[in-house]
Structures are given as structure tokens and as C-alpha cells.
């Protein structure tokens, strides 16, 4: 009798311990499912700095008065990276990679392209709207936003300086004092950033156009 009782005792304790171990193992091995509470919003993937086109209608009217419509294309640049590097003299930055081309049409006939780009001015961002015709020549340039002190802003927004960009191409001599006129010393860093931004945009557009043909 005592022997049977001891057996029951051992079986009981054994069962209890096995259950406990099973529960512990199951809980430890369970991989937590995606839990929105554990994923703070601050760990979201950082988006690229896409520059918005703030006044499309006004800009279309100014650069392509006969335009009837535009559409936006986003070409894949990955296969063109080597060509672009050769022309630019540097690799594309992550900010430049998602490129948006606003293709402008008069009915079905393409008139040109508008590119919008943010460049780093000395005192803040400068947003550039660049209109290019079908031959790759600059049709017009507009600074849609800038945060420079007034004297510098006046220089950069002067019609004389902006008009100097018209007719230039990706192959122009993109230096201050050559393709575009020199500006006063205080405005030079921001002017240089604009020139570099326009040059990069034209080269990107040119590489895409040549690869299409």
C-alpha cells in the first residue's frame, strides 16, 4: 500500500513539474507578434527630402504659356548611376535619387520639363524651380522659397541674374562669372549652391534623355 502511495506521489510531482516546464518553455519560445506599442513612431524610416512644387499653375503659365497640361514621371536611376557619376563628378546623394520630372505638354505635344529642387543656401533652404525645353536648354529659373537675408535674397532674385540661366545647357561652363554672372561676396555661397543645383538637374535630365533615345 505504502509502495503504491509513493508511486502516486512521484507521478503527481512529476506531472506538476512537467506542466510547469512546458508552460515556461512555451512562454519563453513564443516570438512576440508585431506590437504597435513596442514600435515607437520615432523609429519610422526617414523619408527622402522631396521638394514640393508650390505653385504649379503660375509656374507653368510663366515658363510654358501655351501648355495645356503636365504629368509627373519618376524615372528609375539605378541603371544610370555610372553615367551620372561620370557627368556629375560625384555619386548621387540619397536626396537626389527619387527624381520627379514634371513633363509639360500642349495637348499631346511635349513642350519641356520642370524640375524642382532644394539646395542648401547659406542661411536656409533655397527651392529652385527649373524649366527646361525639349532640347535641354534652360527656359527659365525661379526661386520659389528662400530664407536668405534681404540683401542676398534681392541679389539672387534679381531678374538680371536669373535671366542669365536661360539658354544654358548641361554642358555649359557652370561657374559663377562664366555661365552666370558673378555676384557680390555675401551672396556667393548661396549663388554657388543654386548654380550647382541647376547643373546637377540638367545633367540628370540629359542622361535620362540620352538613355531613352
Amino acid at each position: 500500500m505504502a509502495k503504491t502511495q509513493r508511486k502516486f506521489w512521484y507521478v503527481g510531482v512529476g506531472l506538476l513539474l512537467s506542466t510547469a516546464l512546458l508552460v515556461q518553455w512555451r512562454s519563453a519560445s513564443r516570438v512576440p507578434l508585431t506590437d504597435f506599442r513596442v514600435l515607437p513612431l520615432r523609429h519610422h524610416i526617414e523619408g527622402a527630402s522631396l521638394c514640393p512644387w508650390r505653385q504649379p499653375e503660375a509656374d507653368l503659365h510663366a515658363f510654358f504659356p501655351t501648355a495645356t497640361r503636365y504629368d509627373t514621371q519618376s524615372p528609375i536611376l539605378s541603371s544610370l548611376l555610372v553615367d551620372i557619376k561620370e557627368r556629375l563628378g560625384r555619386w548621387l546623394t540619397p536626396d537626389e535619387n527619387p527624381l520627379y520630372l514634371h513633363r509639360v505638354y500642349r495637348n499631346q505635344q511635349p513642350l519641356g520639363t520642370i524640375l524642382v529642387r532644394r539646395v542648401k543656401g547659406e542661411y536656409g533652404a533655397i527651392e529652385v524651380v527649373l524649366a527646361v525645353d525639349e532640347q535641354g536648354k534652360v527656359r527659365g529659373l525661379k526661386l520659389q522659397r528662400l530664407r536668405e537675408p534681404e540683401p542676398i535674397a534681392q541679389t539672387l532674385r534679381s531678374p538680371h541674374w536669373l535671366a542669365a540661366f536661360e539658354g544654358q545647357t548641361a554642358d555649359s561652363h557652370w561657374r559663377l562669372g562664366e555661365a552666370v554672372p558673378e555676384v557680390r561676396a555675401a551672396a556667393q555661397p548661396s549663388a554657388q549652391a543654386i548654380v550647382e543645383g541647376v547643373r546637377s538637374s540638367l545633367i540628370l535630365l540629359d542622361v535620362i534623355r540620352h538613355n531613352k533615345t
Binding site: 502511495q5 509513493r6 502516486f8 506521489w9 503527481g12 510531482v13 506538476l16 510547469a20 508552460v23 515556461q24 512555451r26 512562454s27 519563453a28 513564443r30 506590437d35 506599442r37 513596442v38 515607437p40 513612431l41 520615432r42 519610422h44 526617414e46 527630402s49 508650390r54 505653385q55 532644394r118 539646395v119 542648401k120 543656401g121 547659406e122 542661411y123 536656409g124 533652404a125 533655397i126 520659389q144 522659397r145 530664407r147 536668405e148 537675408p149 534681404e150 535674397a153
Partner: protein
């Protein structure tokens, strides 16, 4: 008597072992639930703390109108009286009171609005998500000088600024130096420009002006009484994060009810189990108790013997239960967490000495409670019953 009680328990090893196991499991459940409840409340409280402010003190007027004005890019006309900050700081429920000056500068031609926030060091504890990327002030989350600005992640991208760059405010003519850029937080801070409070007041020609005071309480549960007091501050009104606080209090309340219900169930089952074991023992040992009485044992001695047996049983059960709770508690926590709404991340099991002591006391209470009737039955036996049994 203790030895006798112990010997009596070992006379029925299987039955007592099963009762002991049941008791141990009940005590373990009780300990884990108590520890879980305590941990849940404190973790939820600290998660709320990590969210920053809980209450906002704003100038009198419609708070929704104020919010709409800010969203539309218009500046707020009202100001908080200077005394509001002092009064808020001296409130016993307030842990942090951070004065703010928020100024919206609309730029209609660009289709956007610059949002400037002036704040002082008191605001830092309210922004635990602030991680500043800066080579200007490495390791710091604060302004190195009065003419510096901290940019939210989105603002820095939009303005193409990096730490050390100049940053110009055309409306005020002020040139600032970027002290750092905040890591993306998913909050409204991402698109704001932060400057020291004094700098903001000077930049916008509003010396001493405050548009809001952000508050954090010592304990979120004090929200009601704190709100009542803060409402009395002249010229100010309280805007609470009502939904969040309501959710917090509801969650704590419902989890407490859920855990209490399970704990009551565990205690009831273990009480009945001990009661059943002792009653069966008394019925089996009727003759033995009668003989004890015939040999001169008093009623209280028989009563005491049963009670001691019960206390020994529950004492051993408690010890095993505590061992189980310590060993399997974290597995149990993972199971319970699946049923608890919005369980905070991190471990919630807080098996402190006070929790263990409470469970042991409850267990002894169960032992005494369950032994009362069987002990009373045993002590009522008459010495003559021994003769009848024979």
C-alpha cells in the same frame, strides 16, 4: 503538538500532497497576479511619464479656437498671466511646469507656416524622446547659447540645415546657429523650430509673454484634484489629455478587477480544498480524537491540533507556491499579458517582499479559516464516542 500534527499529515501522504499542490498553485497564482497588478500599474504610469506632458495650462478662451488658430498659421492673441507659472509650480500635484511661447509665422507665398517654440530647461523632462544629433554640443539636448536653434527632423530637412549651420529668420531679422537636429520622433516636434524662451520673447518682441505652460503630474491618478486646483488660477484654463488619462484610469481599474476576480477564485478553491482535506481527516479520525479526549485532552487542545495541521499544510503550500511563482512567474506573465489590453512593454512582474508577505498572510488566513469548522467538529467529540466506536 507540532510534532503530532506533522506526523498526522504524513499519515495520508497522497491526499495531503495533492492538497498541498493545489494550495501551492493557488498561492503561486495569487503571488503572480498581485505582482503583475502592481507592476502593470507602475509600468503604465512610467509609460505615461515617458509620453511627456499630461496637462496644458492655456490662456482663457476657447482652447479649440486656439488650436484652430495655430493650425491655420495665426498667432495666439491671449497670454497667460505671469503669476500662472508660479502658481502651477507650487501646486502639490505638479512635478514639472514648463513655460512655453509658441509663435506661428505664416508664409502664404510659400504655402507654409514657420512654427517657433520658445522653451526653458524645465521642458526637457517633458520631452523624453528628444535625441539631438549635434557635433556642436555632443551628448547634450540643450542650447549652447542664446542665439542657437534646435530643429525638428522634418524642419531640418525642409530647411536643409545641419548642426553648425546658420539659420535666418526673415521676419525678425535674427540669425541663429543650428545647435542640433532632433531625431525623428513622430510627434509635432519634428516640424518645429526650438529656441530658448528668452530668445523667443526677444525675437518676437514679447518680453515675459507665455502662451502655454506644459505640466506633468507626480502621479497621473492625481489628475482630477490637480485640475480642480489649476482651474482656479486666474486668467488660465486647463486642457487635459482627457482621453489618455481616462484610458489610463479605466485600464488600471479593469485590470485590477480582472486580477481580483481570478485571485478570489484561487483563494476560494484552495480554501475549499484545505477544508475538504481537514474535514475528511476529522471524520476518519473520529475514534482517535475521542480517545484523546478520554485520555484527558481538552477541547481547545483538539481544536489547536487541527488548526496547527491546517497551518502546517498552508505554510508548506505557501513555500512551494512562492517557489513556483519565482520560477514560473515570467512564463505566467507572458500568458496573462495576452489578455490584458495595452499591456506595456517590458516586464510587469514585480515580485517584491511586500507582495510575498501579503500572499503568505492570505494563505495562513485561508488555513485558519478552512480549519475552523473541522476543528470545531473534532473538539465537540465526547470521550464516550470512543467507546461507541469500539
Amino acid at each position: 503538538m507540532l510534532l503530532l500534527a506533522l506526523r498526522n499529515l504524513t499519515r495520508r501522504p497522497l491526499r495531503n500532497a495533492l492538497t498541498l499542490s493545489g494550495l501551492a498553485v493557488a498561492v503561486a497564482v495569487l503571488a503572480c497576479l498581485s505582482a503583475f497588478g502592481q507592476g502593470y500599474r507602475s509600468q503604465l504610469g512610467s509609460e505615461l511619464d515617458r509620453m511627456g506632458m499630461q496637462v496644458m495650462l492655456v490662456p482663457l478662451g476657447c482652447p479649440y479656437d486656439a488650436a484652430a488658430r495655430v493650425l491655420k498659421g495665426k498667432t495666439l492673441d491671449n497670454s497667460l498671466p505671469a503669476s500662472a507659472l508660479t502658481l502651477a509650480q507650487h501646486d502639490p500635484a505638479v512635478a514639472v511646469a514648463a513655460p512655453l511661447l509658441m509663435v506661428a509665422l505664416p508664409r502664404p507665398s510659400e504655402g507654409r507656416t514657420d512654427m517657433w517654440v520658445g522653451l526653458d530647461r524645465a521642458a526637457l523632462p517633458l520631452k523624453p524622446w528628444w535625441r539631438m544629433k549635434s557635433h556642436v554640443t555632443p551628448g547634450s539636448n540643450w542650447f549652447p547659447s542664446d542665439d542657437s536653434v534646435i530643429l525638428g527632423a522634418e524642419a531640418a530637412v525642409t530647411e536643409a540645415r545641419e548642426p553648425g549651420d546658420k539659420f535666418y529668420s526673415p521676419e525678425t531679422g535674427q540669425t541663429l546657429r543650428v545647435a542640433g537636429v532632433l531625431e525623428r520622433s513622430g510627434t509635432s516636434d519634428d516640424s518645429l523650430f526650438f529656441v530658448p524662451l528668452a530668445t523667443a520673447q526677444k525675437m518676437f518682441h514679447q518680453p515675459g509673454r507665455l502662451t502655454a505652460i506644459a505640466l506633468r503630474l507626480r502621479d497621473p491618478a492625481l489628475i482630477s484634484e490637480a485640475t480642480t486646483r489649476l482651474q482656479r488660477i486666474p486668467g488660465a484654463q486647463v486642457v487635459t489629455l482627457t482621453e489618455m488619462m481616462g484610458t489610463f484610469l479605466n485600464l488600471v481599474g479593469s485590470v485590477r478587477t480582472l486580477l481580483l476576480a481570478i485571485a478570489v477564485l484561487a483563494v476560494t478553491i484552495s480554501t475549499l480544498s484545505v477544508f475538504n482535506t481537514l474535514l475528511a481527516a476529522v471524520v476518519e479520525r473520529t475514534g482517535e480524537f475521542s480517545i484523546m479526549r478520554a485520555l484527558g485532552a481538552s477541547r481547545s487542545q483538539v481544536f489547536g491540533l487541527i488548526t496547527i495541521e491546517s497551518l502546517l499544510l498552508t505554510g508548506l503550500g505557501s513555500a512551494c507556491g512562492m517557489g513556483l511563482a519565482a520560477g514560473l512567474g515570467y512564463g505566467f506573465e507572458n500568458i496573462v499579458k495576452q489578455w490584458v489590453p495595452f499591456a506595456p512593454s517590458g516586464s510587469l512582474l514585480s515580485l517584491t517582499s511586500s507582495v510575498m508577505l501579503r500572499c503568505i498572510l492570505i494563505s495562513f488566513g485561508v488555513g485558519i479559516g478552512a480549519s475552523l469548522y473541522p476543528a470545531w467538529q473534532a473538539s465537540r467529540l465526547h470521550p464516550a464516542d470512543a467507546v461507541k466506536m469500539d
